[in-house]
Amino acid sequence: MGGLRTAGDLVGWMQIVRKMKINEAKQYVAKKLGVDVIDLTNEEVIRSVREDLGIGVVTSVAGSPKGIRAKIKIAELLDIHINSVDLFLSQVR
Amino acid sequence: MSDEIFAAAIEAIEKGDAEKAAEIVRLGLDRGIDGMELLNKGFVPGINKVGDLFGEGRLFLPELMMSATAMQKVTDLLNAGFPEGKMKTRGKVLLGTVEGDLHDIGKTIVAALFKANGFEVLDLGRDVSVKRFIEEAENFGADIIGTSALLTTTMTVQKELQEELKRSGLKDKYKTMVGGAPVTRRWADRIGADAYAEDAGEGVRKALELLKK
């Protein structure tokens, strides 16, 4: 789907964590992002959505969230548990 | 009446029941059925059916081996009743996975199906060097040398075997067959192997064709 370029990673999280089939996963993510399903792979729409939500963009923007910082936001946004995030938060809180 | 016996022969092989198969041989011969006819209309269709079921995942390796054992018993019994030489094995096949390659499940399946189809098989296992393939083929008196490779990095050993056979003047003495996941007919053609087989069932068919030539 395009990973960080689009919303591919987010749909991936829903399939893996909640065992959602592709259409259900896309609808869930689209709702959380406030976009239409067809725009999940629309770079022009998703780029700014990702920037605004702080969930990581594909290019390297100095100081913007990537890695575990972005994953904390992703877990909150999608309302899921991500093992690495849970561990990280348990270490910093 | 003969048809019933042929059907029973097929069933005995399919079930891998060696005792039942032997009983059918005796019964068929007692009733005046020609041994070769008994084999070709009963037991051979039986083992072919077993091969097909195995290829479709409907029958499994232990059962295939039981069928092979039953088939061996049948051929031994029939052999005893034939004039010498008439019922000799279908050919001697030397098998092995090439040096550097530790995958031997596919090759084991090939060995089992060859045995089931009346070939005399010597399985050298895995990680077999070119030198050993040739030495063992000479000692065994092989008709066919079959090599398996599961890796793109080890299939080159199949080519080395061809080159070594040529160098040692043995290329025409043996038929060579190649198989394994990354191996294709075009690879076989490229290295000068006599045949390529997609799976064990095709291996048996190709071997029979090779030995007719």
Binding site: M1, G2, G3, L4, R5, T6, G8, D9, V11, G12, W13, Q15, I16, V17, K19, K21, I22, A25, V37, I38, T41, G56, V58, S60, K66, G67, I68, A70, K71, I74, H81, I82, N83, S84, V85, D86, L87, F88 | E56, G57, F60, L61, P62, M65, T69, L102, D104, I105, T108, I109, A111, A112, G125, L151, T153, A181, P182, T184, R185, R186
Partner: protein, 397 residues
């Protein structure tokens, strides 16, 4: 291409002739039908297609349609599942006959791609399908995530088996933890159960291949049962250790490569891990279109595993607790992509219909209809991907 306004200028006779060779698209645009879409089969209608070994050949429309029909029948007979409908077969034909070098699904139909060791291809050699760039694992993972736009990524031992991970588990835990702090997309630890490594001379159990060939069936089965127990223990050990450093997901890849007992070990380990560490998802992929019966009698939840086809495999994988099931369909190198892909789509459709969990189809070298060659041709890979998603309804690749 002939656009609407030009079409309007044609005489009735010309329009009729044109209609037979064309179709009207959106906004009145008129497109030329490809020769194959017109259904002809003379020499000029020949279509480029790959064989299962990658060779590019030209086949007629009739030949390709025949291969599609025979392929779906073969899959249906073997799996005891429905064939593709005539409409689906026509759809598959259209995808295969598309004159473009690369094809793709329409916007909105995209699916995710799960990684099964792709980042390793950056630094590994030929045996891993790799290009041998001297870079670290972290660099490879991040390159795959950010430069390639990967939906998911992963890391694994170079041998890509779980057994050798055990003695270096602390090393792997450190690497995983470091990488997981940097990655944003789902990041798995993946490898193959590879039960073959538990047989002599590599492991403690007698080689069942040798035992079977000498008729020692009981002993061969016993040896596989022992190896299964060892493998299960190791899979759980590695899984638990990685979970302790925040593993986001475990991938049991190519399960059943050493037969049904190998598949069983993965299922048992999967169930145990899910029960004890529910926050760590596990995905499980198969090694072939049916589970090879090296043992023949092992069961999971009372069901014999040997001989299970994808639509049956997915149910046990699902019952064990997997997040995603990865299916594999063997490519026959002597048959065309039409035949191979037709089978793959037929198996895929049945598995997806049976599944409650997402089904991802393996589209690597020599599986899923992709030709068996080190550099799978992009024309084939893109046609395979599109067909499996559009017709097979795959949830991912």
């Amino acid at each position: 291409m002939m656009y609407g306004h030009k079409y309007a200028l044609l005489s009735k006779k010309q329009k009729k002739k044109q209609k037979n060779k064309s179709f009207v698209g959106v906004q009145g645009a008129v497109f030329q039908k490809s020769p194959l879409a017109a259904g002809g089969n003379n020499m000029s209608d020949k279509i480029f297609i790959r064989m299962g070994d990658g060779e590019r050949v030209k086949l007629s429309t009739a030949e390709i349609k025949e291969d599609i029909s025979v392929g779906t029948m073969d899959a249906a007979r073997r799996g005891r599942i429905p064939e593709m409908t005539p409409e689906e077969q026509e759809q598959l034909f259209e995808i295969l006959a598309d004159p473009a070098r690369v094809v793709g699904v329409s916007p909105g139909e995209e699916v995710i791609v799960t990684d099964d060791g792709c980042s390793m291809s950056f630094y590994s050699g030929q045996d891993g399908g790799g290009v041998g760039i001297p870079m670290s694992r972290l660099q490879a993972i991040l390159t795959y995530e950010r430069a390639c736009g990967a939906d998911t990524t992963s890391m694994g031992h170079s041998d890509y088996s779980y057994k050798p991970v055990k003695p270096i588990i602390n090393f792997e835990m450190n690497e995983y933890y470091t990488c997981s702090m940097m990655t944003t997309v789902p990041f798995f630890y993946g490898a193959q159960p590879n039960m073959g490594l538990y047989f002599q001379p590599d492991g403690p159990c007698p080689d069942p291949a040798e035992l079977l060939l000498t008729g020692k069936i009981k002993e061969a089965r016993q040896s596989q049962e022992e190896a299964c127990a060892h493998l299960r223990k190791d899979l759980v050990f590695v899984g638990k250790k990685l979970a302790g450093v925040g593993c986001e997901g475990l991938n049991f890849d190519t399960c059943g490569s050493a037969g049904d007992a190998d598949f069983l070990a993965a299922l048992l380990a999967l169930r145990e891990l899910r029960r004890e560490i529910p926050q760590m998802p596990v995905i499980m992929g198969s090694s072939g279109e049916f589970v090879i019966g090296m043992h023949g009698e092992v069961t999971f939840d009372g069901q014999r595993l040997a001989g299970m086809y994808p639509h049956e495999q997915v149910k046990v994988v699902e019952a064990a607790g997997a997040g995603i099931y990865g299916m594999a369909v063997n490519t026959n190198t002597g048959k065309s992509t039409a035949w191979n892909l037709s089978r793959a789509v037929t198996f895929c459709k049945a598995a997806v219909e049976a599944a409650q969990i997402p089904v991802h189809v393996n589209v690597g070298m020599g599986v899923g209809g992709v030709p068996m060659m080190e550099q799978p041709p992009i024309d084939s890979v893109s046609r395979v991907s599109k067909s499996l998603v559009q017709i097979g309804k795959a949830d991912g690749l």
